[in-house]
């Protein structure tokens, strides 16, 4: 057992209102520089939809993540020899068009236009070339199913549905969508780190944040191809790649990352998980249908004395273990099993988990009466407008039962609270639902508390980062002892 700590995340999709405040908070802090205009370290996608970059989930073309070959785990984008062969021409790069060409507007024209019969307009100008452009796509072109029906219908996750289900999904009365906010998943088995020929990417030892060293990056862009979530981006101005840093300067000072802090729907949770690094490879080779359980088995119980002892032995600070015990993420992922990793079949083991969203039931109109009730208490999970198969493709590595479990439990908690506060459902029915959903009354209460009444302190349990100790992994703190301060720009010497 090799116990490490990881700052992990849960996004509660049932609470996301798709306001994009997170994206703007991130953009204003990190990616408003030249060369980063097109990057969205945090973006919010509408599902069904093609996302950003377009159809990023189509790994047949983007070649991101890992695949199992001859019982071994290999990058889809490259192996050692092909990486060397393609070093000056990486064939799996997304084009700027698949992201979008960032633009601003020619606002000066509003003031300087010569007098004419019409109001002057501000034409769009490319932020890459400075030329006028005809805007064809944006990072959220299909927001709220906008843009055109082309985008939603080309969602790769729809492959899991039957033609009938697909048709229903886009029927006007049954139309449905939900939001899918994305940041870097800070994976346990990051393919971007594995792909980098320069060794510029690394997973920070003390908290598992995946970072990209700007000094070592040589701009080969192997990480851009290898990340299946397309969350490393190439800065065309500096010639280096960049990615989400989980706002580590904020975390180190005890603040939640900007996108977490600004979240209007309070959908984001952050906390430490302890995991067993020794078993990652073994678990990553499991067949698809065992991956979710496999990843859960990597996450260790922070109350288990054996785990605590092992964590101490591998240098995890007591305060971090204590923080792991209070982690909301541990509750959502391991205890309640409500939160699921996105596209685990890429085998990078994302450490950002999603609570699948509830959706309205399919309504059927019968002689002017809208009918959506049946005897089965959980009917509306099978009948919900977002098919379970779709959610399973997105969040369950294809395993519908894992998604169904999370949805049923959420529904049971709702009915339990309804019995308590509204009273139109008897507690007997609610208790039966809880029992069927593998949930006790205490657990339901805890889920309710952390979902609906959570404070800042409940949502963000930020461990003390102990940089002063973590730095010892990289540098010798006594390196400059008995030398002068921080060193000299040019060393002094005798004489004139």
């Amino acid at each position: 057992m090799n116990v490490r700590s990881q700052v992990s995340m849960v996004f509660h999709l049932d609470k996301c209102i798709g306001c994009h405040t997170c994206s703007i908070a991130c953009k204003n802090i990190w990616t408003d520089r030249k060369g980063t205009e097109y990057m969205w370290w945090n973006n919010v996608e509408t599902k069904p939809g093609t996302g950003f970059p377009t159809r990023w989930e189509d790994q047949e073309r983007y070649k991101g993540g890992w695949e199992k070959k001859n019982g071994d785990l290999q990058l889809r984008s490259q192996n050692k020899s092909s990486a060397l062969f393609n070093i000056f021409h990486n064939p799996n790069q997304p084009t700027l068009d698949d992201y979008y060409e960032p633009w601003t507007y020619d606002y000066q024209n509003l003031f300087n236009a010569p007098e004419g019969a019409d109001q002057p307009t501000a034409k769009p100008i490319s932020m890459v070339t400075g030329e006028y452009i005809n805007v064809e796509a944006g990072p959220n072109w299909d927001d709220d199913l906008g843009g055109s029906p082309v985008y939603a219908q080309n969602d790769p996750n729809l492959e899991s549905l039957t033609p009938e289900q697909r048709e229903q999904l886009f029927a006007t009365e049954r139309l449905v969508f939900f939001y899918f906010p994305r940041i870097c998943n800070h994976c346990l088995n990051p393919s971007c780190v594995a792909a980098c020929p320069s060794g510029a990417l690394y997973k920070r030892g003390e908290d598992g944040i995946v970072l990209l060293d700007q000094k070592r990056c040589r701009g080969w862009r192997a990480c851009v191809a290898a990340c299946p979530y397309k969350k490393t981006y190439f800065n065309w101005s500096t010639g280096k790649s960049e990615k989400c840093i989980l706002c580590f300067p904020r975390l180190e000072t005890g603040q939640a990352p900007a996108c977490f802090h600004s979240c209007v729907g309070r959908i984001r949770y952050l906390g430490v998980l302890l995991y067993d690094a020794a078993r990652i490879e073994e678990v990553a080779k499991l067949p698809d249908d065992q991956l979710i359980e496999g990843q859960r088995s990597l996450i260790l119980d922070p109350f288990d004395p054996e785990v605590i002892a092992a964590a101490r032995a591998s240098g995890v600070h007591d305060s971090v273990i204590e923080s792991a015990q209070k982690s909301p993420v541990y509750q959502f992922v391991k205890v309640w099993k409500l939160a699921l990793p996105p596209h685990l079949e890429y085998r990078t083991f994302p450490m950002l988990f999603y609570v699948p969203p509830m959706s309205p039931v399919m309504a059927s109109q019968d002689g002017g009466v809208i009918d959506h009730v049946s005897g089965d208490l959980f009917h509306d999970i099978e009948q919900s407008r977002v098919p379970v198969a779709y959610l399973a493709k997105l969040l369950g590595a294809g395993q519908e039962n894992k998604v169904r479990y999370a949805l049923r439990k959420q529904k049971a908690v709702r009915w339990y609270r309804r019995a308590l506060t509204v009273g139109d459902v008897t507690m007997e029915v609610a208790s039966r639902m809880l029992a069927e959903a593998d949930c006790s009354a205490e657990e339901a209460e805890a889920i309710y508390q952390l979902t609906s009444l959570c404070t800042f302190e409940d949502r963000f349990v930020i461990p003390p980062m102990h940089r002063e100790e973590a730095i010892q992994m990289m540098e010798d703190p006594l390196e400059h002892k008995a030398s002068a301060g921080f060193g000299f720009v040019s060393a002094p010497h005798r004489g004139m």
Binding site: T54, D58, N92, P94, T95, E136, A137, S148, N154
Partner: protein, 289 residues
């Protein structure tokens, strides 16, 4: 104390003057000593002393043909002399079939004086060291041509250590793509330099501004000169014109190579990522979605 200071002051004021004088003396001596070497490096490709004319006239007893002042003036700027309408200079140009003697780098009045002195001294000798190289008159064989070919192409290194001819020159029909294009085409050089003697003299001491510094310390040896002469004689006999077609071939080969290269690169990365969004949207526009 005072003596020391004065002494120092004395030495200080004297030293630069002494140095300047010594430098001047050494300089003059060097210039005089150099007249022979200077002649060898700059003049022998066109002139002999008692060896008959090459491109330029034989300089034996030149002092009796023109006076010293004329000679010194001519040496410093032959072209200016011809342009001024000097009859003798014009006659010389005609005799050389229009070739104008170039201005020689490093030529100055002292050097010219020294040269004139040296030439008159050499003229009195029964046989001057500058009587021209004694190139064999024997008929040139196919073997000589083959050896010349090796030397020209650099397959056999020049024993003096100089670079192979092909790095700057070309001869038609010798190689597929021709040789270098920095120097002139040598297909008909045998005719331009009027045969074996002129060509051999040039090769023994190439005097052009490009070749001189390269071959100054890496002279081509007489047996190599003979082989090269054989090669050039052969190529002139074949009657080929200067090689212009190979330039076009070279260009066409470049274009063809580029096209072929691009096609093979396209094939090599056939499965590369070509963009998703545009094709997706346009496919739908065409009604195939």
């Amino acid at each position: 104390m005072l003596d020391w200071i004065t002494g120092k002051g004395f030495r200080n004021s004297l030293t630069p003057r002494v140095c300047a004088m010594v430098a001047l003396l050494i300089g003059t001596a060097a210039a005089q000593q150099d007249a022979g070497t200077f002649f060898k490096q700059n003049c022998t490709s066109c002139h002999t002393i008692g060896g008959g004319r090459l491109t330029g006239p034989d300089l034996k007893d030149v002092g009796s043909r023109r006076d010293r002042a004329w000679l010194v003036q001519f040496l410093q700027s032959p072209k200016a002399m011809i342009d001024s309408g000097d009859l003798y200079a014009t006659k010389l140009q005609q005799e050389a079939r229009g070739v104008v003697m170039p201005n020689i780098a490093g030529m100055n009045p002292q050097q010219a004086q020294a040269l004139v002195d040296m030439i008159s001294t050499e003229s009195k000798l029964p046989r001057s060291q500058f009587a021209g190289m004694q190139i064999s008159d024997r008929p040139l064989t196919d073997q000589d041509i083959a050896k010349g070919r090796l030397v020209f192409l650099g397959e056999q290194q020049l024993s003096g250590g100089g670079p192979a001819c092909i790095s700057c020159h070309t001869v038609k029909g010798l190689t597929l793509l021709g040789g270098g294009r920095l120097g002139p085409d040598l297909t008909r050089v045998y005719e331009r330099l009027q045969g074996r003697k002129g060509l051999a003299a040039w090769l023994s001491s190439p005097a052009s501004p490009t070749m001189a510094p390269v071959f100054k310390d890496h002279a081509i040896q007489p047996e190599e000169v003979l082989s090269l002469v054989a090669l050039f004689e052969d190529s002139a006999k074949r009657g080929g014109q200067d090689d212009t077609t190979s330039l076009l071939n070279f260009f066409l080969l470049g274009v063809g190579g580029m096209v072929l290269g691009l096609i093979s690169l396209d094939a090599l990365w056939k499965t590369r990522f070509r963009g998703v969004r545009r094709s997706m949207v346009h496919k739908n526009d065409r009604g195939e979605g």
